[in-house]
């Protein structure tokens, strides 16, 4: 039996990894006695169900590494980890972190696996457990069904592929822009606080609502483009079939008929020359139109292209292709379509498929009708039939687009007012100017799909997400606000509050999330119903926040992880389980100083390379974290009470040019290498000298504080403020007025 004791969704950076994971506590009970090599037929059954486990490198770091471990004998918790990841992988969520660790209690493990979505990964763990048990017990297990279930959850719960591409580009190492999903849909925030932007699929917060409404009115769009000299087909709106025919004759045949306000090419018919065809096409278009208005336009011969314009630049271009079938004298057109077109593995019904299957498409019926055929007709051997003139526009042609066409497409987006636009244009040859070939822009689309450029049916995928991120955040644009994370087994709250007080004096909109609540400036935010991580994230979501101080208790670290991906300053106030055993969390199997260290170090791990860890040099565990920091380290310590190890560490740090905040007698000293500057003396700081107050409503301020740990908080606050370049004048006032 494998029993789940607990699932913990670690949504932010945690002791395992920077990415969200689910930490499952499993009790394998008696299976502790049965490593894989002792279970007859187990490995064979497992690898038969999941042959791709061969790709798992595991501890050997090479292909087949995990299979090797199976052979040598490994335990079910570790197997569960790999099986869960593989199930996610097969369902389209590839790669990812996984780890299984034993606890101090026999048979109980913590299994952590990369979580794409809490619900999905939890389900993957449950399915993984069933699979492993089935393999152990030699009972049947339907792998395909399990994978399909996860894949369906993925379609339903994860970001759509366009949004995901943008988020991936933002969070990639080269940009490291944080992302917060704001809704169950595709609304995502990039960046923090004041510097945040929002995206919603291929719309940005700068995408104009008016521009979208213009683009959805094809007739208006056409008129505006024409006024500015952009080539567009001549056309006009009609409201009944007879008018469509009259208008077609006056424009000149052949014509295109489409709904004024449709999208995705629905209800569009092209190259129509007869009254019958035109009236039939009118009916199709009318059905696809919300307003019932239909556009009759001059037919522009050529291939349909989609140009993606982002911030005035061409980012990608794709073209459509005609789809044909050739008769064999036996099969119906539908069968020929299935054999010759739908058999293409790139054609699928999922959103992520580069090409669609052709099924029950009235436009196809119309096209066949025009050729004197029908979907159930049996063409003679060798007869070629056009099925789709412009099926999926999914063949990359970015490098071929003529500069004059790029300029016109960018202008079209600008005229409509869209920052991100999909320009549909018809041209025989995209490498020649439109004017030379009577090509024209036929549509301007807001919120264009990106998939055709990310996963073209042929040609090179284009870095569309990167382009959108670069447009939103030019290389020198700020993406983050300074975030200060505070953790420690004591006075973390006091430190956070004190630092918040200092930072507010710098005239920045300062956010504070600590045990006492979440505040923006003096304004308390009503976050009582939120988890600590969600409560702290409100500060990062708030577009006013200019700097945020976030306290992370040890419990928060264990239960949710950090509220931010990275921070400017990471403070560890104190961590000394030998002196303060209550800082251990045996209920979480955090029962040794090493395990506690592993939890708390996350705070230092996430310090940005240009950031700073502010660490208590007097605590050996905290001192040890210095080497984990990607950025600078500022030590702090009370020299009056420091032991020799502390003093030695301070000296070593300063010898290497490091900074430190020191209390020497009554003086607070800012030290950097050999330089020392006296900031102020303890006697000037009233808070240090006031007794613990108890108010009438029994709310204690300063309860549990001692003179020593108040000094710790004071020094940590100074270190962080110094790291954030708070002017010393301001800092002094902040310290004395708290």
């Amino acid at each position: 039996m494998i029993e789940f004791l607990n699932f913990i969704a670690l949504r932010g950076p945690n002791m395992w990894t920077y990415r969200p994971v689910i930490e499952a506590w499993v009790d394998i009970g008696e299976l502790e006695e049965s490593p894989s090599n002792t279970l007859p037929g187990f490995n064979e059954r497992l690898t038969a169900w999941l042959p791709s486990l061969v790709e798992h490198r595991c501890s050997y770091g090479e292909q087949g590494g995990f299979l090797q471990r199976l052979k040598e004998g490994t335990w079910p918790a570790h197997i569960l980890e790999h099986v869960t990841l593989e199930l996610q992988n097969l369902a389209g969520m590839p790669g990812g972190f996984g780890k299984a660790r034993s606890t101090s209690q026999r048979g109980i493990y913590k299994v952590a696996v990369r979580s794409w979505h809490e619900h999905i990964t939890r389900q993957a763990l449950l399915l993984g457990r069933d699979l492993v048990m089935a393999a152990i017990d030699n009972t049947p297990f339907n792998v395909a069904q399990a994978v399909a279930q996860l894949a369906q959850m993925k379609e339903h719960l994860l970001l759509g592929p366009s949004t995901q591409a943008i988020v991936d580009a933002a969070t990639a190492k080269s940009r490291r822009i944080p992302a917060i999903r704001l809704s169950a849909g595709n609304l995502v925030q990039l960046g923090y606080g004041k510097h945040s932007r929002r995206i919603w699929t291929a719309e940005t917060d700068a995408t104009s609502a008016i521009a979208e409404s213009i683009s959805s009115d094809k007739s208006l769009t056409n008129a505006l483009l024409r006024s500015c000299g952009v080539p567009v087909p001549e056309g006009s709106i009609v409201t009944h079939a007879a008018a469509a025919w009259t208008e077609a004759q006056s424009i000149g045949l052949p014509v295109v008929i489409k709904p004024v306000d449709g999208n995705h090419g629905r209800g569009v018919s092209v190259d129509l020359s007869t009254q019958t065809d035109i009236e039939a096409a009118f009916a199709l278009a009318e059905d696809a139109s919300r307003s019932g208005e239909v556009l009759v336009e001059k037919f522009i011969p050529g291939i349909e292209h989609r140009l993606l314009i982002v911030g005035g630049k061409l980012v990608a271009a794709a073209r459509g292709e005609e789809a044909w079938v050739v008769g064999d004298g036996r099969s119906t057109v539908q069968q020929l379509i299935n054999q010759q077109i739908n058999s293409d593995p790139r054609r699928g019904t999922e959103e992520a498929s580069p090409l669609n299957r052709i099924e029950n498409d009235p436009a196809v019926a119309l096209e066949l009708n025009r050729q004197g055929s029908a979907i159930d007709a049996i063409p003679i051997c060798g007869e070629r039939l056009l099925i789709q003139r412009n099926g999926n526009v999914a063949f990359d042609c970015t490098d071929e687009v003529h500069p004059a066409i790029i300029a016109q497409a960018a202008l079209a987006a600008r005229i409509v007012g869209l920052d991100i636009a999909g320009i549909d244009l018809v041209a025989r040859d995209i490498s020649q100017p439109l004017a030379s070939q009577q090509g024209a822009i036929v549509e301007v689309n807001a919120g264009p799909g990106l998939l055709m450029h990310l996963k073209p049916a042929a040609g090179q995928p284009r870095p569309v997400g990167e382009a959108i991120v670069d447009y939103l955040f030019p290389p020198d644009a700020a993406t983050r606000i300074p975030v200060v994370g505070v953790t420690g087994s004591a006075v973390a709250t006091l430190t956070a509050r004190w630092l918040d007080h200092v930072l507010r004096l710098t005239n920045q909109a300062t956010g504070l999330a600590c045990k006492e609540g979440v505040f923006l400036g003096t304004l308390p935010l009503a976050t009582q119903n939120l988890s600590p991580l969600a409560a702290a994230q409100t500060l990062l979501i708030n577009r006013q926040t200019e700097v945020a101080v976030i306290e992370n208790s040890i419990d928060d670290l264990l239960n949710e992880g950090l509220a931010y991906d990275r921070c400017q300053v990471g403070i560890v106030t104190t961590l000394n389980p030998d002196q303060d055993p209550s800082s251990l969390r045996p209920d979480h199997y955090i029962d040794t100083p090493e395990r506690l260290f592993n939890i708390v170090r996350t705070q230092v791990d996430v310090v940005l390379p240009n950031g700073c860890a502010v660490l208590n040099a007097a605590d050996p565990l905290v001192r040890e974290m210095a080497e984990l920091c990607d950025g600078e380290v500022i030590f702090f310590a009370d020299e009056n009470t420091a032991d020799t190890n502390t003093l030695a560490a301070l000296t070593a740090h300063r010898t290497q040019g490091g900074r430190a905040v020191l209390l020497r007698n009554q003086a607070i000293i800012l030290a950097e290498a050999n330089n020392e500057k006296s900031l102020l003396t303890l006697t000037e700081i009233s808070y240090i000298n006031t007794a613990v107050k108890v108010f009438a409503d029994n709310q204690k301020v300063g309860a549990g504080e001692t003179a020593a740990n108040r000094i710790t908080a004071l020094l940590a606050t100074i270190g962080a403020a110094w790291a954030l370049n708070v002017p010393l004048v301001t800092l002094r006032i902040g310290l004395t007025t708290f």
């Binding site: 609304l187 719309e203 008016i210 979208e212 500015c228 000299g229 600008r414």
Partner: protein
């Protein structure tokens, strides 16, 4: 009486600045004035008592007869006034043709103006024939059409605010999409959305749960609550909410409502028992799968309007309601309330009629009432749960009451959602205290909020909402305009336009220009043909990549439609001279033509500049009418008009030997003609004039002298860049000049230029466009006959209404008694004429070809030149 022609003058025009319908009417001799139909005035007044005052009659003299078209104009104007249109202007004049009158009637909406003229004519005919005329119906039709056409109150308020700030506007659709400003400085609005309004923010505002979550993050008080999936869950949620309540601030009761309901359907308020919650859940679940349980907020519905980061207005909204009087039934009370003329049927008026529909009846039912119930004296009967104006609600302005902290929360809410114009709905007892202090909350934020309740609230004062939105679009001091130079005149317009555009391009501006051969944006031709009318000008002003516009403004467009702009920064009138196209549109004399061109001068901004040719007496006379300062230019520095102007320390441009000089008082700048290739070092007198006009124009636009010098030096003028503008070719040692000049002034200028050039034997190839007056065509050949030896006259297919041979005959008549012409040949076909002329040339000869089909003829000449070079090689 017939309408010969009906035009809409959509911009400043010959008659004034009003938009107006211009109708040309023909009256038969039996019915021209009121004298012909003695009691016509009385009959019209009987049918339409609202007919405005007639022109004062001179009491001493015999009553002056009134032209009947004038009566029609007055009727058309009065009908519009009766329908509520703000119009006042009309005019009636007799044309040179007997019995043909032009009437001009101002309109505020074109369609309404057209209909008013039609109806006025119907009224006249009915009166004349003693038939009835339903004036009330006519006015109702006009009123309905006007409501349909005119901007709604929200958009209208924004447009008015823009106009007050001098910001130009243009409707892009028949709906509420409006462009403010021009070119690259333009902005757009659509009702209460602006072009910067984020589509994502709008989507967020539509998702109430997401909005609430974001508002929480901004510290904005929102009613506590959550969505539930069952009645049991609803009760659990309700208990949790009530447990958090307290006696002084937070209520201990809840609201249950469908997530995406509307108009208050399925909403139950202020409940606290399990039974009530279960019932309420059932009611809400009937409307939507998603049911919300929230804390009940007691108090009133308020709407706070945030624009940018400012609170602009606040209103207390009340649902449709009637107050009982102890006598009348509810339906009678509703009828009485609906008598208020401020209550209309749609959004066009400040209030909307109360509808006693199913929703109202259901609402009454909940109160145990029916439409027939008679409420007691003073009893308040609510007919709707929601307070929308569109369902008969009222709004009271309470802007002055808003507590600053409450305002800050509304602004924070708008900012958090990301809306620049935002209607924030708050529920609380009063706006005079912070929301937090009274347990109030913000329940919704709205994109594109209605402005009606703030512009014309039912009670209290209207707020400057349109102004606030315009201030958001255009910071103080920015009127959204780009500099416009309008160029009119008989000759030299196109070259002057191109040169002004080029000089600004050198100054780094993206220039859009219209000329008789196309529309150009940043040097790229985007339209071809004669583009000197208002439509092309409007296209330039619409183009988002234009920083400056230079518009050739031909008389045709002014007459047809008026100007495309309300006013320009610089108007240049090159010359009127002997005139061109006289006879069109009842413009018969050069004096009248000057009046047409005056339209552009009349519409120069008071802070702008009018550039006039001092040597042209008709032009110079314009200085008297100019609303702006004037710059005179003339080749002759001693010209009295120019000299006098200069003496007054006003701006002048003139030629001084080999330099052009700009002078303002003692300050002078010089431009050596040797550095201006266009003038052929000063040899081409007409180009010198064009250059002076262009310098004067860009001087007014504030270009630096060094930029102007650089631009003059780099300006290229050849068959490619300026087709048909004095294009010079070399053909077998002879000089060939091709030009499109087709009127006597152009030919005078050409003759002057050609005379300054060497040439043994002189040949001219000439034709004439058929729509010129006979005397102009004769004069043309007469002028050329004086200076050319060999004349080849041709006629082409396009003769604009003349019979074959007619033009040639006129040209020949002009040559009678020519001083120099020795040889005259008639040819049919332009290319043939060109070929014949070229064959006759010997080295050292000079040949002037007046081309007609510009591009084709130039291509033909170029081909012949290439062939001759190939032969020579």
């Amino acid at each position: 009486m017939d309408i010969i022609r009906l035009r809409a003058l959509r911009g400043p025009n010959l008659w004034g600045r009003h938009t107006a319908i211009e109708a040309t009417l023909h009256c038969p001799s039996c019915a021209r004035t009121s004298a012909d139909l003695p009691d016509i005035t009385t009959r019209i007044q009987a049918r339409f008592p609202g007919l405005g005052a007639l022109p004062a009659q001179n009491p001493s003299a015999q009553a002056t007869p009134l032209p009947l078209p004038e009566l029609i104009a007055i009727a058309a104007l009065s009908l519009q006034i009766s329908a509520g249109c703000p119009v006042a202007f009309y005019r009636c004049t007799e044309t040179v043709e007997t019995g043909v009158y032009q009437i001009v009637v101002e309109y505020s909406e074109e369609a309404v103006g057209r209909l008013a003229v039609e109806l006025a004519l119907e009224l006249y005919i009915a009166a004349r024939d003693d038939q009835p005329f339903d004036a009330a119906n006519a006015i109702a039709r006009l009123r309905a059409l006007d409501e349909d056409q005119r901007l709604g109150p929200s958009t209208g308020a924004i447009v008015h605010a823009a106009v007050a700030r001098g910001i130009p506007y243009r409707r892009l659709t028949t709906g509420s999409l409006v462009q403010f400003g021009w070119g690259a400085r333009q902005r757009r609005i659509q009702a209460a959305e602006i072009d910067a309004t984020s589509a994502i923010a709008e989507s967020i505002a539509q998702d109430k749960q997401l909005t609430k979550q974001l508002l929480l993050a901004a510290g904005v008080p929102v009613p506590e609550g959550r969505s539930v999936a069952s009645a049991a869950e609803a009760w659990v949620a309700a208990q949790a909410i009530m447990a958090n309540g307290n006696d002084n601030l937070l209520s201990r009761s809840v609201v249950v409502k469908p997530q995406d309901g509307n108009q208050g359907k399925g909403v139950t308020v202020d409940i606290c028992t399990q039974d009530a919650v279960f019932q309420a859940y059932a009611a809400a679940a009937a409307i939507s799968d998603d049911v919300l349980v929230e804390r009940y907020l007691p108090g009133h519905d308020f709407r706070l309007l945030v624009v940018g980061n400012r609170l602009i207005a606040a209103a207390r909204r009340e649902p449709a309601q009637v107050i009982g009087n102890g006598q009348d039934s509810i339906s009678a009370l509703v009828d009485a309330v609906n008598l208020d003329p401020n209550r209309g049927d749609g959004h066009a008026t400040s209030l909307t009629k109360i509808r006693l529909d199913n929703i109202a009846i259901a609402t009454l039912q909940q109160q145990g009432l029916t439409p027939d119930s008679v409420p007691s004296q003073g009893q308040r009967v609510v007919l709707r749960h929601n307070a929308n104006l569109s369902t008969g609600g009222t709004a009271t302005d309470v802007t002055d009451e808003v507590h600053p902290q409450l305002a800050a929360r509304a602004i924070a809410a708008a900012a958090m959602v990301g809306l620049d114009i935002c209607g924030v709905d708050a529920v609380c007892e009063t706006l005079t205290r912070p929301l937090e202090a009274q347990g109030g909350g913000i329940v919704e934020v709205n994109a594109a909020p209605g402005l009606r309740m703030h512009l014309a609230p039912s009670y209290g004062k209207g707020r400057a909402v349109g102004e606030a939105i315009i201030d958001l679009l255009f910071p103080a001091g920015d009127n959204g305009r780009i500099p416009i130079v309008a160029v009119a005149g008989t000759n030299g317009k196109t070259t002057t336009v191109r040169l002004i555009a080029h000089l600004q391009t050198v100054a780094g501006r993206r220039v859009g220009m219209t000329t008789t051969d196309g529309v150009y944006i940043q040097g790229q031709r985007i339209d071809s043909g004669d583009c000197s009318g208002p439509k092309s000008a409007r296209n330039v002003l619409l183009h988002p990549e234009v920083d400056a516009a230079v518009l050739e403004t031909a008389r045709g467009g002014i007459l047809r439609e008026g100007l495309a702009f309300d006013h320009c920064d610089v108007a240049v009138v090159t010359n009127i001279g002997l005139g061109d196209h006289l006879g069109l549109n009842y413009i018969t004399t050069v004096e009248d033509l000057a009046v047409v061109k005056r339209v552009i001068v009349d519409n120069v901004s008071p802070t702008g500049m009018t550039v006039l040719n001092a040597a042209d007496p008709l032009v110079a006379r314009k200085a008297n009418y100019c609303p702006s300062a004037v710059t005179f230019f003339a080749a002759d520095s001693q010209h009295p008009v120019l000299a006098a102007h200069g003496a007054r320390r006003q701006r002048v441009v003139y030629r001084d030997g080999d330099d052009l000089v700009t002078a303002e008082g003692e300050v002078q700048a010089r431009f050596p003609l040797a550095n201006i290739p266009l003038t052929h070092a000063g040899a081409l007198g007409f180009q010198v004039e064009n250059v002076m006009a262009a310098i004067a124009a860009v001087w007014a636009l504030g270009l630096d002298w060094h930029v102007i010098r650089e631009g003059l030096a780099s300006f290229v003028n050849n068959a490619d860049t300026a087709p048909g503008r004095f294009n010079v070719f070399q053909y077998c040692g002879a000089t060939v000049i091709a030009d499109y000049g087709h009127n006597p002034d152009a030919i005078v200028a050409l003759i002057q230029a050609v005379e300054a050039m060497p040439g043994k034997r002189r040949t001219a190839v000439i034709s004439a466009a058929g729509d010129r007056r006979d005397e102009d065509i004769r004069q043309q050949s007469q002028l050329l006959g004086g200076v050319f030896d060999n004349l080849i006259l041709y006629e082409d297919a396009c003769q604009r209404g003349r019979t074959p041979g007619e033009t040639l005959g006129l040209l020949r008549e002009g040559l009678a008694g020519a001083a120099r012409a020795q040889q005259v040949t008639d040819v049919y076909g332009e290319f043939l004429a060109i070929d014949q002329a070229l064959e006759s040339l010997a080295p050292g000869d000079l040949c002037l070809i007046l081309i007609d089909q510009v591009e084709e003829a130039l291509a033909h000449i170029k081909q012949r030149v290439t062939e001759s070079l190939a032969k020579a090689a």
